[in-house]
Amino acid sequence: MLKATLRSFLAHKGRLLLSALAVLLSVAFVTGSLIFSDTVSRTFDRLFASTAADVTISPKEDLDEAVPSGRTATLPASLTERVRRQVDGVAAARADVKVNGLTVVDEKNQPVGPTTGAPTLGNAWSPNERSPVELSSGHAPRGPAQALIDSETADRKDVRIGDALTVIAPPGSFEVRVVGIVTFRTTNPGSAQLYFDTATAQTKLLGRPGTATGISVDAAQGVGDDQLKRRVAGALGAHTYDFRTADEQAESDVEQLGGFLDVIKYVMLGFAGIAVLVGVFLIVNTFSMLIAQRTRELGLLRALGADRRQVRASVLTEALLLGLVGSTLGLAAGIGLAAGLIELMGLLGMNIDTDEMEIGWVTPVAAYVVGLGVTFVAAYLPARRAAGVSPMAALSDAEVAGVGRPLRARAVAGAIVGAAGAAALAGCAVSRQTSSAASLLGLGVVLTLIATVIAGPLLVRPVIRVLGAAFPALFGSIGRMSQRNALRNPRRTGATAAALMVGIALVGGMSVASESMTASFDRQIDKTLGADFVVQNSNFQPFPQEVTDKVRGTDGVGLVVRGRFTPVAVRLPDGDRVETTAAGYGPRLDEVANVTYAQGDSAAALASGHLAMDRDFARDHGVRVGSALPVEFPGGRSAELTVGALTDQDAAEGFGTQGGLFFGLGTLERYAPGGQDSALYVNAAGGTGDRDLRANLEEMLDPYPQVQVRDLADYKRLVHDQIAVLLYLVYALLGLAIIIAVLGVVNTLALSVVERTREIGLLRAIGLARRQLRRMIRLESVVIAVFGAVLGLALGLLWGVCTQQVLALQGMTALAIPWLTIVLVVVGSVVVGIVAALLPALRASRMNVLAAIAHE
């Protein structure tokens, strides 16, 4: 029996090729993402472990910054002295200065930092054996006008020793000359690094002499990190600062970088998931068809005495062999993929050596579990069907295999699952609670997807009748035959189209959601933004006071309202403590924004010691106008603020700004000093045109490439671009799904062509030209692809509309259907159909007519 199985596997290897490719792709994405994330996290573990001091003292981080405030937490540099003197077992202590978010420009005002969104950091130069960099040319910086720059940035931007740079730091800009180049001893995570002498770093980057952003303490011989940490904490007071051992510091550094790496990991796993999902359809279909074609052969095996179990085992063994081959090749492809990703990271400035590629034991295990699991699961049903072949099948003269048993069971199962899915989606649409709506949405999406896959074959007849109705008229009998061929085996057509459907449904849903988000933001911007111009950073990063001063000093500027953010924690009357981000606005907010208040007004909201919040949030937590709320600010400050107004905005709760809290800029500066402005809302002075003002502003801000001047339309575009990033990801997912789905269509058509050899021979004999035959197969392919696309779009639109209902709870009330995308998807599916038919059509047209019609 095993011999028969192996023979069969080898005999069908051509037909199994595409299935193996599907397995390969799934496995490659799974292993690629595992290898990549292992390698990167190992690299950074090593980097941070090697650069962390034995004990690090840093300012207490009580509130996380979801939205950057531009504030750099400091501690007195004199702690160094105290630690050195008061703590036993300290070999050395250094005051570190490390300031994030600098902007450095060259003499032509071109930014020198990375363009990838990675930060530019300014540091105090205090070389030691744990420095991540070493001086490779030039000399150490001395005095306020000298700096070192890292070699990678220098190479990228062609900066040399002797070049003049302008550093735009929070306290103000200053000029430096490059006096040396430093080289990374470890991996550079992608940032640009500048080094100054300690005094310069303190005064020019932090704005205050005698401060530091952290203290590094080295332990003396024989003193453990934990022991030293306890002693330092004891000497300085355990609750005054954060103390971390080298291990803890490395862990915390990795965590900070982790968010970014997690994103890459999840994206990759998303690709793997899509590949697996679509691949399953392909494999199920391949095995179903192979078994249908081999019905007589299997019947013969049964007639010769093989029992059902043996037949089933034979098919499953074949599947496992396929999985084994696919997984092995996929593992190799995954290593290649990881290497490619690492190279790509290199282009973004994160240099990881591909030699350091880390392949943990989990990777090959995952590869084979995924590869074998997918094929086994996918082949299980066809194998059961194979086992059900009766010995009589060997004797019967069944011409076309697998025309299909009644689809009643499918109808029932599809209807039940579909009804459950529809109920979940309906529930999500009417739900008022974001969290329950979101989980209902997830459930509904999964259930409706399953229902559509189950019921797909049932939809084949009605939908393709409609879709292909024009075919006989347009293409005559060729069109008629292609349409009917697609209808011939609804199960097969349904399964083939399902692969395409999954990807398209996903994209349909996401594009409706993002289009609705865009429309909602547009509406909200139109409604609320009243300023002529907004000056801000394209990543919403804060900028130094200097920029604000320049804008104020620009000719033609009438009014400038500043906006800032700070992390806060509010204790609410119902006992909840909510950590969020609050905004601070300058006076005359009403002239640059249209805030809708449920109660109170801007004057009450911005008054000293007062704050405003979203009406719904206030209601949920039992807050009313006049409530006094204890508010915690960064750096351990706290205050009791009075609720002055409640707002009624569409999207008060944006990203990380739960509750829509805001207060006057004065209040913010009193309790959260040291921040930077995040946005400036500018109105023209009377008599100055918008165009003139814009030109003036742009000229004035030329030395500050980190900020841009935007009017309403530009501001919308900025928001659109942020959402578009999400869409690009979705399109990439779609691309992969489509590639695999195309493989599926190719597979189905190729096997169908083989099945219909005699029919094709007959057609050729009675005069069907090769070109016409190819067209017939192409049209069939197009019908299948468009069927998949229509089903996918219908499902995607449903999902999208429900997603929008959930988003509406977050204030995104506009519903927008991306008609252009929908049309493009349908057109694209026609192209997919044509491409998928290329090979099968060629094969059919090359078929030998005589061999095809030979009756013996």
Binding site: M481, N485, R758, L762, L763, A765, I766, L768, R770, H855
Partner: protein
């Protein structure tokens, strides 16, 4: 092309030319030592308006002869004409068009496209060509074959005999110059087979068509006007106005004939 049926009296009277002709037709398979000659320099003329049967034992080359005459297969040497057109040397595309427009086919089995109904199958060659069928002729063919109430049926809903009648109607529908029937009764019971043979006879007599039928059944051959006997790739004999008994007798003598066969040129009835 074919003369109107009205001018044909039943019988053989106004045969007016050659529908297909082969000269020195040779078909070899393999090469060198292992060469097998399926057709060995065959000369044959198919007379227009007649029902010609090709008989011979298995492997005698009768199917190969039909495939070569119909432009389905290439020849190793010799020439083949359909009417005035030499088809040897035509390119694939021209051959396809020729088959579509000038030849009708019936096979032993699998004659019909399962996805098309009877009427669609009948008009398929014309649909492929993008031509409108001649309505009056089509009606006549359909009525002659008694298919009027079966037109909307799919092949799977038809009996074997009905399927062959549809195939016969398809072969006739475009009024081809020549109809090739390859064992058209091979898969039918004797009654359905007789019916089909009767229709082919009628196609020649009433509709003025030209039919070449390959068969190994003497009873089927008896319906033809002329039987050509093929042996070892050559035409070894012919018989006019055959009867089943005579054909059977002739077939029994095959081995004897084979032994004393001389290279006599194959001929049609007009030689």
């Amino acid at each position: 092309m074919s003369t109107p049926a009205a001018e044909h009296a039943p019988g053989l009277a106004p045969a007016d030319g050659i529908a297909a002709r082969a000269r020195g037709l040779t078909k070899a398979y393999g090469s060198g030592e292992t060469t097998v000659l399926a057709l060995d320099s065959v000369d044959v003329d198919v007379v227009r308006g007649r029902f010609t049967a090709v008989m011979g034992p298995s492997g005698s080359g009768k199917s190969t002869l039909m495939h070569c005459l119909a432009g389905l297969d290439t020849v190793s040497a010799g020439q083949v004409w359909l009417g005035d057109t030499e088809i040897t040397g035509l390119r694939e595309r021209e051959l396809t068009r020729l088959r579509r427009d000038r030849i009708g086919f019936m096979f032993q089995s699998f004659n019909l496209i399962p996805t098309l109904n009877a009427l669609e199958n009948i008009t398929l060659p014309m649909d492929i060509a993008g031509r409108k069928p001649d309505g009056a002729w089509l009606d006549r063919v359909i009525d002659t074959l008694g298919l009027r109430d079966r037109l909307a049926h799919r092949p799977s809903q038809l009996s074997g005999g009905q399927q062959q009648r549809v195939a016969c109607a398809r072969a006739l529908a475009s009024r081809p110059e020549l109809i090739f029937a390859d064992e058209p009764t091979g898969n039918l019971d004797s009654r359905a087979g007789l019916e089909v043979l009767g229709f082919l006879r009628e196609a020649v007599d009433q509709l003025g068509q030209t039919v070449v039928m390959v068969t190994h059944d003497p009873g089927a051959a008896a319906h033809s006007d002329l039987v050509l006997f093929l042996g070892d790739g050559r035409i070894v004999d012919e018989m006019r106005r055959p009867t089943a008994e005579a054909v059977l007798e002739r077939m029994k003598r095959f081995d004897v004939i084979r032994s004393r066969y001389e290279d006599a040129p194959a001929s049609s009835e007009e030689n």
